[in-house]
């Protein structure tokens, strides 16, 4: 094996994971694999349609970014920093992005749970699993002087009150609900922040949000 401090260590098998929570949030989800649910037939056009359901459990091994996920459970935000150039990252990069740093291995650094909104949007539509929480603000936030912005939900305000550059803090989900994922936290306005008065643009956004609120109420 080549010796180089930039190489990431691969644990010797097996990794035992003695602290098991594999079904804590499983709910009613089952693995079906291929499951043919039914079919339709159109005799006039001679068209046949099959209803196929396919579902599978994945095992995402976070490996060298595991520290980030552990931090989420513990309510700590961990990013990485390049010891050569000083660039700091969240989401963490495990090697520096600077070509002159030659894949320097980054170091873990605890981040202050605060930042500012770089840009944002008010979502009125989303993926299947996020429809019920519409409308929501998705903000790209620069946390604690990082060179990157991370996308996450901005809560604790009316969607039309969000602002470019506004200061925000990291807020953690209740401990028992955390699962080591980015959704273990969200952003809220920093303490002391007050929304600015209504403007025609904010009125416009508010008006666009109203039918979304109504529509979400109709979802089962």
């Amino acid at each position: 094996m080549v010796e180089d401090k930039r190489l990431h260590k691969i644990p010797d098998e097996p990794v035992e994971y003695p602290d098991k929570h594999s079904n804590d949030f499983r709910g009613e989800v089952k693995e079906w694999g291929f499951h043919f649910c039914g079919y339709d037939w159109d005799p006039a056009e001679e068209q046949f349609k099959i209803y196929l359901h396919y579902d599978q459990l994945y095992y995402w091994k976070l490996a060298e970014i595991s520290k980030m996920a552990r931090g989420f459970l513990d309510g700590e935000l961990w990013g990485t920093q390049c010891p050569k150039c000083g660039d700091k990252f969240f989401p963490p990069r495990v090697n520096c992005w600077n070509l002159d740093c030659e894949l320097e291995k980054t170091e873990w650094v605890r981040l202050k749970p605060e930042g500012h909104v770089h840009t944002f949007t008010i979502a009125g539509w989303s993926g299947k699993s996020s429809l019920k929480r519409l409308p929501f603000v998705l903000a790209y936030v620069v946390i604690d002087g990082c060179k990157t912005a991370v996308a996450n939900e901005l809560r604790g305000l009316d969607p039309w009150d969000a602002e470019f550059g506004m200061p925000v803090k990291v807020v953690w989900a209740p401990k028992e609900q955390r699962r080591g994922a980015i959704t273990d936290f969200w952003f809220e306005p920093a303490d002391g922040w007050k929304p600015s008065p209504m403007t025609p643009e904010k009125e416009r956004i508010k008006e666009l949000c109203q039918p979304v609120y109504e529509w979400v109420k109709t979802l089962k």
Binding site: W97, W125, G127, K128, Y140
Partner: protein, 420 residues
């Protein structure tokens, strides 16, 4: 590098959601239509096939190109599939270009499709979001329109634009699609309107993610497309008068997460601090520069030299952002550029007369090829035959630009096509 590479023919299927035709039948139909245009073309001419297909999730079928390939009877002919997000079509075309340019092959087929109507729209959005970094953005509830909206909103603020400025691209492309019998807009929702869409219609459509409304967004589609990429010698012999030369080809890349491009060293060293931020598509600028250089076009004069363009209008806002990334306008004149409708048919650089992704549709693996074929039809004067009328025909166009775009601007290709 003296060998000239040409598009000698090609075709698209109609696009729709839902639409009832298998991938292999879509490509077979495209080959048949190509043979009507260039009767000399035989499947035996094909020396290499490049397949263009984005997401195996839609079909629940890995390597679906294997089904298409043997269906066409092409066993023994080398093949592979290119997958590069929304730029899959452009990237497949790029691969075919390299294959002919290198001297390895004289005749290469490029065939692409997507079957997004196999799932609901919201499930489809979530599948596509799997091409964002699923550990972060997709989990946070983001889907592509949301990422694009966050980029568009900042762009809108920094350029003092209004929602109505973006809406112009949305109505332009849909209204041009009405002249295109294969377009999804014409075949679908237009039947409800039976009239041109207005800026007001866009403003009233439902919120997708501010500042984007439903009509600012492209369509999810089933559809296929095929292009024949050949040497000039082959094209002249078998498709005389019906071929174009690929004079420039560029492909570039950017970060997967849009939030990672505020200060990326690779961009800072090329374009200076703070570029592209989350407002511009650096991979579009850099691949555009590559294509312009190869075609001998001065960046600053690109707008004057290009006569027609088919670009990746996944969103009305991204069409506008692409104008700027390709040097057609700058921060100072972008507002006038948009409001003077310079990219409409009556303007000096008509964009997306084929309907674009918002009007024609966006079956991902077919999209970039569709754009190339529409541009090819323009430069070979086949539009009056392929569209309903000459309303969307750019007469005497000599030079066309084709743009294909992936991720949040993560991979982008640009091509310059010219009459021989």
């Amino acid at each position: 590098m003296s060998r000239r590479v040409c598009i000698a023919g090609g075709a698209t299927t109609p696009f729709g959601y839902p639409m009832h035709i298998t991938p292999e039948a879509m490509i077979a139909n495209c080959v048949v239509e190509t043979q009507h245009d260039i009767p000399d073309f035989h499947l035996r001419d094909i020396q290499f096939m490049v397949y263009s297909h984005f997401s195996v999730h839609f079909g629940k079928q890995l390597c679906p190109e294997w089904i298409v390939h043997d269906h066409l009877g092409l066993v023994g002919v080398p093949h592979f599939r290119v997958e590069n997000g929304g730029n899959t079509g452009g990237s497949a075309l790029y691969a075919a270009f390299l294959a002919v340019k290198s001297g390895m092959f004289d005749v290469v087929g490029v065939a692409g499709w997507e079957t997004m109507d196999n799932v609901t729209q919201s499930q489809g959005s979530e599948f596509i979001a799997l091409a964002s970094d699923t550990r972060y953005e997709a989990l946070a509830g983001g889907i592509y329109p949301i990422y694009y909206a966050a980029m568009a909103y900042k762009f809108m603020k920094e350029h003092d634009l209004r929602e109505e400025d973006f809406a112009l691209a949305a109505i332009k492309n849909r209204n041009y699609a009405v002249d295109n019998p294969k377009s999804q807009w014409y075949r679908g929702e237009y039947r409800k309107y039976k009239r041109d869409l207005t800026v007001e219609d866009v403003m009233k459509s439902r919120l997708i993610s501010y500042p984007l409304k439903r009509y600012d967004c492209c369509l999810m589609s089933r559809g296929g497309a095929f292009a024949l990429v050949t040497t000039e010698e082959w094209a002249k012999k078998h498709s005389d008068g019906k071929y174009v030369v690929i004079d420039g080809a560029g492909l570039s890349s950017c970060t997967i997460r849009a939030g990672d491009r505020l200060a990326f060293p690779g961009w800072t060293e090329r374009y200076g601090e703070g570029y592209p931020d989350m407002t511009e598509f650096a991979a579009c600028r850099s691949s555009g520069e590559m294509a312009y250089k190869m075609a001998g076009i001065d960046f600053k004069r690109a707008y004057k030299e290009i006569d027609v363009a088919e670009i990746h209008d996944a969103f009305s806002s991204s069409e506008v952002q692409i104008y700027k990334a390709l040097y057609w306008c700058d921060k100072e004149n972008i507002k006038e550029f948009l409001r003077e409708r310079r990219t409409f048919m009556e303007g000096d650089l008509p964009v997306n007369p084929g309907g674009g992704l918002m009007g024609f549709g966006h079956p991902v693996g077919a999209t970039g090829i569709m754009s190339a074929i529409e541009a090819y039809y323009q430069l070979t004067d086949q539009i009056p035959k392929k569209h309903f009328s000459s309303k969307t025909y750019v007469r005497d166009a000599q030079t066309a630009l084709v743009n294909s775009h992936a991720g949040t601007g993560t991979s982008i290709s640009n091509f310059i096509l010219r009459r021989p």
